[in-house]
Amino acid sequence: MSRADSPGSAGSPGSAGSPGRHNRAGSPDSADGPGRPDPVGAAPGGGEREPDARFTWANERTFLAWSRTALALVLGGLAVAQLLPPFPGVPGARHVIGIPLILLGGAIAVLSYTEWQANQRALRRGEPLRRSLLPRLLAGTIAVIALLSAVLALVSAVTGHP
């Protein structure tokens, strides 16, 4: 994995870290490189300490990339409902496409925050990171919406122009 593909650096949610880097987060020798910020003291309660700053920042960039994805989905849903011409013969078709996109955007915004929190906690404890739910959610929902859009366009083409 090249530097340019490091978590979140390319603005791509799909590049949210590799297992190799995750494993390094918890290794005891992961924070002794030259010029690298040292982890700060252990948290009370034991077992937790601030991870290498680079992992914290990578986690933050991944969250920001998902946030931008969420914003794009909300704006896309709004654009479908507001800017597309009506589908002849299928009333409400624009809403059927646009509303799920907006809901997906809102859900991704909230879920990306909970994943950021969980990842940050895992980094502090030196535990492996959980597999993200978001790529599957995004891919699955967009596939369903695309299929729905195709069906609506076909129905509109058949029924809208007798």
């Binding site: 530097r3 010029g35 680079r54 914003l71 909300v74 709004l78 809403h95 809901l103 955007g105």
Partner: protein
């Protein structure tokens, strides 16, 4: 990849690049908020103006010094972004539902 610093990649030599990339990610996020605000401004200024203001705030937050010890502050900043997007999504939902079917 071995580097003169003894680490296995360039970031081991210069961790400052990771901070710069994070600042750029904040900048891209602020631009995204600004784009959404600008898109909403014409037809829905009541929503668009606060979103534009939020984009300025996100821009400023991205420029704050990044200290790993300030975890609680960063949590608040990220929570603000989540709340902002959730609010925009709710407003978009209301606008969409109010649009003629």
């Amino acid at each position: 990849m071995s580097t003169p610093g003894g680490g296995d990649d360039f970031e081991d030599v210069d961790p400052g690049l990771a901070g710069a990339r994070t600042e750029l990610a904040w900048t891209r996020t602020a631009i995204s908020f600004a784009a959404v605000g600008a898109a909403l401004l014409r037809n829905h200024p009541v929503v668009g103006i606060p979103v534009l203001a939020l984009s300025l705030l996100v821009w400023e937050l991205g420029r704050l010094p990044r200290n790993p010890a300030t975890g609680a502050t960063r949590t608040r900043h990220l929570r603000l972004i989540t709340a902002g997007i959730t609010g925009i999504a709710l407003a978009a939902l209301v606008i969409t539902l109010a649009t003629g079917w």
